[in-house]
Assembly symmetry: D2
Amino acid sequence: MKTINVGLIGCGFMGRTHSNAHRKVNNFFDLEHRPVLKAICDNNGEKAKAFAAQWGYESVETDWQRLLARKDIDLVDICLPNNLHLEVAVAAAKAGKTILCEKPLARDGKEGEQMVRAVEKAGVPNLVSYNYRRIPAVALAKKLIDEGRLGRIFHYRAKFLQDWTISKDLPQGGDALWRLDVKVAGSGVTGDLLAHCLDTAVWLNGGVAEVSAMTETFVKERKHQLTGKVEKVGIDDACAFLARFKNGSLATFESTRYARGHKALYTFEINGEHASIFWDLHDSHRLQYFEHRDPGYLRGWRSVHVTDGDHPYMGNWWVPGLTIGYEHSFVHQLADFFEGIAKGQPAGPTFRDALETQYVCDAVLKSAKSGQWEKVKAAK
Amino acid sequence: MKTINVGLIGCGFMGRTHSNAHRKVNNFFDLEHRPVLKAICDNNGEKAKAFAAQWGYESVETDWQRLLARKDIDLVDICLPNNLHLEVAVAAAKAGKTILCEKPLARDGKEGEQMVRAVEKAGVPNLVSYNYRRIPAVALAKKLIDEGRLGRIFHYRAKFLQDWTISKDLPQGGDALWRLDVKVAGSGVTGDLLAHCLDTAVWLNGGVAEVSAMTETFVKERKHQLTGKVEKVGIDDACAFLARFKNGSLATFESTRYARGHKALYTFEINGEHASIFWDLHDSHRLQYFEHRDPGYLRGWRSVHVTDGDHPYMGNWWVPGLTIGYEHSFVHQLADFFEGIAKGQPAGPTFRDALETQYVCDAVLKSAKSGQWEKVKAAK
Amino acid sequence: MKTINVGLIGCGFMGRTHSNAHRKVNNFFDLEHRPVLKAICDNNGEKAKAFAAQWGYESVETDWQRLLARKDIDLVDICLPNNLHLEVAVAAAKAGKTILCEKPLARDGKEGEQMVRAVEKAGVPNLVSYNYRRIPAVALAKKLIDEGRLGRIFHYRAKFLQDWTISKDLPQGGDALWRLDVKVAGSGVTGDLLAHCLDTAVWLNGGVAEVSAMTETFVKERKHQLTGKVEKVGIDDACAFLARFKNGSLATFESTRYARGHKALYTFEINGEHASIFWDLHDSHRLQYFEHRDPGYLRGWRSVHVTDGDHPYMGNWWVPGLTIGYEHSFVHQLADFFEGIAKGQPAGPTFRDALETQYVCDAVLKSAKSGQWEKVKAAK
Amino acid sequence: MKTINVGLIGCGFMGRTHSNAHRKVNNFFDLEHRPVLKAICDNNGEKAKAFAAQWGYESVETDWQRLLARKDIDLVDICLPNNLHLEVAVAAAKAGKTILCEKPLARDGKEGEQMVRAVEKAGVPNLVSYNYRRIPAVALAKKLIDEGRLGRIFHYRAKFLQDWTISKDLPQGGDALWRLDVKVAGSGVTGDLLAHCLDTAVWLNGGVAEVSAMTETFVKERKHQLTGKVEKVGIDDACAFLARFKNGSLATFESTRYARGHKALYTFEINGEHASIFWDLHDSHRLQYFEHRDPGYLRGWRSVHVTDGDHPYMGNWWVPGLTIGYEHSFVHQLADFFEGIAKGQPAGPTFRDALETQYVCDAVLKSAKSGQWEKVKAAK
């Protein structure tokens, strides 16, 4: 088995999900490659050391440029805030590293374009961590669509609702709350949550042609963690948009952090001529499926408990009826990434795939300002 | 159209459901017969008068024997407490009346046997109001079973859970609370709720061979409404039993009025070799159906919204997606009863059908006392 | 008890729901008034006669102007296609009749304005039949909002999804399919379905300030039932829009007749600072409620089975746990209308209330054409 | 941090769940101890080698007695079929090893008693792997009960339904199908599935006093994998029983492998005076909770999404809304076991706790044969 030496940058929430995936992937998937936790990198040295101890990294770096310079690192795993993706990814590409980058690709399309150019010029394997594609029920949805079970698509609707920023006392910025700081995050729910919805949507239903959007910032000012001062909030707390896909279907998308009662309600529904599909992250092990071809008096939404051996990825886990959870989508992502490398067929979403999502986000934010329908730039 | 002159006895909850059915049935069903609300009878004259005004009865009686003596009455509708079923039904049969009788048939099998003999000797049309058979989703379950979709049956399970008698301060007996008075009701949840479960079960799955039961009376004494004294409670507050059906399937049945959170949770589930069915009165317009013959990765419980024109009874109501409710089961019952009379083919459950349910109840109560498995007497 | 002589115009689906309500209302509600089914009117005389026989109307008219001229008619119940509302309602107002008019008020705001002027000038009681306000769970939602349980509202989202016009072979126009004929209906899903969503939304959340919409006609041509020719389809098959309410909350609305698997999926959700509410017509007897004030580890969406005596309207029906259905919303509407007349306090939605909904529909259709955000005209 | 050297015996399904737990526990829980995967043991050497490679065991043994003799092994993890628990556990106790044993404790109470004596005599830490106690939603149920939220308990009901042995062509016995071989398993669903239900029930609701049971073997003969001959099936395919708890509450329990449509439907419900609880393994991240103290018109079953930081165990995983799955219950079990060792307070269920479950199983199987109610032997 070939080893892949991993250097992971960033000890936050995503650093944990990726480390866990690296540690587990070979226990459950038969692969040609095996990741080795070579180095963890964080500019906070104490944090990095503790993280290394907890996850079993062999060494610690506090400067990502030193990490990239190391010859014993094959894969750079970027688990940094959005504003750092561009610089690190471009440098990693130049250093010839395989790159796994947290989503969204970047703060906007312009940054994304530079990143795409860098990895394509360097010819390095690259993947953006839109992990929800690899939830088994979502992968099953893809399979059903590819089998042609839905027929012509009329409607797509997705939402991603949370409720964790309603309190006015919540500060913005700093380690745990950089997602509320527009300079770091680039945008609010658009880049954080709608980007997930869009990655899935484009994968399942093809490109988005045009959008009409609105955004809102409900709490206008928050104390900034780093400056200690009350500052204007620059991110979008909520964003909703109408869209027309290139295949003629209509869509609504919505995201917010002000939907009381929803922690991470990412749902999508697709209505086709012959069948429909619905999925909900809160019950991520189920796919709802309606087939019009069933006898009239027996038609109904089927709640498919996606835990059987013939469901995507599930043959590698336990036995029918026993669920897996959020973290496993990262394991599947790694398995697919490595399998793609082994076969020389890149697994998606590549940086270029992710640029398409970035362009839709750009059009959404532009439309929210212009009050007009905006066309989406083509990524391919 | 032929008229059927109705004399209804009892102005309680069931008097209302039956009166409503009589008033509505011809608005929605094309029938040869039309009921006319000829007379309402209650020993409380004031109550009867008010009821007549509210529902449009042409006359009032306070003595049920006088009602039976009237030649202008064709159908006697017995909406009385259980202890009065025997005497009134036997007299009505002798008077040659068509009889609709509230469930359960009687307080026990011995009373029931006399009633069966009376109607069969008189040759009068007779029906016992086990109304849940006529919920469209339940009728659809019957259709699926009759089509052979389930194959060999392995399991049947039913429960009927309520929570309205938990308070110790609730009295027993009298007008509204006769169901808690063992002399009037004959038993507690067994005759009131399990009888419903059993009527459906025998209809869907055939006869019950033997049972092992337990009962409990959680609140041992309650004030009696009529005597004003604290008296021993004679009814079963809760009853659960194991059963073996004649077809070899196993069953569990349970009922209680001490299940906090459930108002009228009547559910049944049938597991067959090829398919399973689940129904719940709280969402009575849905039938859950699982078909093993679906492709493996697409198997799931279908939630059939039983509101289409090709669902039982539903073509007579509104349009797809729009629900009906509890009261409509009584309308369907009347439509079927009248159609049976028109065709000369009795609709079930007849008194004899209902005797079978009574015998199971008898065996259940006997087993709860004996601590033994008890065989069920054959009704046919 | 005072009688109100009813003259109902139109023997279609709505003629049935209204007739049923007139027949039932006094059986279940204690009111000062009692409707009498005096006359049914339809330009098809045979149909009217059969309808009269089925529902118990005393007389038949084939010319609505003759009906309005009758002095023994107190209330005119307009169950006609949308294009006839204006003329009949204005004439009925001039004749001094109490008016109950099916929704939407009219084909557009201009027609609606004339109708409002007519009833207000005549001073006659008037109500538009947006019946879903009177589903008990929806009325409970209103009660919770009025109690201040939600706090500041951030989001409103509603959709009304159907799937009955997907087949290209379905014709347009004529008796049963006038909803597909733009000349008769005025619009497609906007006036038919979104109007329902908007009536509820404005009632629960106040006025809509501005909208950005898109519409689509998936099947461009259909055979017309009346001409027998294939003609262009003028209605919107689907419509989605973004909205900003006057209270600062954001909204998404969507409706279509191309959402496979949904017969009449009208849902709405409101997210407030302290609590959220969700409702679904397919399970109309349940209200989903989330309260943030519950202890953290016990927070969850409560599925309230709206069948208790202390739930709106439900004390008038059966006992806890037993459901009512679609038709009962019309009974409640009539009870409220009559109670309003008795008290001299008009029940809503009056014609003027309904004009507000009409203005939003106008803005939606305008925006779909202009590709711009459009302001909503003020109705009050 | 102290290391605990693990020797795990058995490379089947449970060997995998335990190995995964050993590898993960320190990544997510702060503990004094850290397990080291010292040795894997299986009498099939090839299998053991492959397993060692996949999971990172340092050495391989093919004879469990040799493993027990090793001084570098601290903890013996028994993942063997039921018939081997007794011999291995007693020997491990004698060797002074800490013992983690898969459930059920043994094939019957007699075997269990010897095991209890052995570990208590040796004074070694011991735990039986009834992992479902450590599903966060189940642990939350325990917390609510301990807080007294339910009040007096009236009812307990549990079932564990599967459908994987319906086919007559499925053989019995051998590596993967030893659960169907009565000599190896001891019993069928009673020891395999009902034992899970009983462990939870006794933990949540106290001891069981007496039971009345029935069992069935639907497929009477199956080919045996080892002998190649068609042999009588000795296990119970299905088992249902009535029970009375020592606290006076009534219960129904049911398990089967013939419930089409259910893969692993383990559900339990508890009805108390003030509140009720429901849980379902198929949606294991949710706890349904009903509180009668809520205002009457707002009462409803709350669907608690057990993924918050203040829910049991969940603070150690991801962020609110993101689910974990089946495997994590084993991680929690290990964390609790190690914490108990560190504190000197044994975590349950100990061998003695598990003996109580075993005694109920014995009484159930005895009752199914005798047709009588049977008392449950006391374990403490």
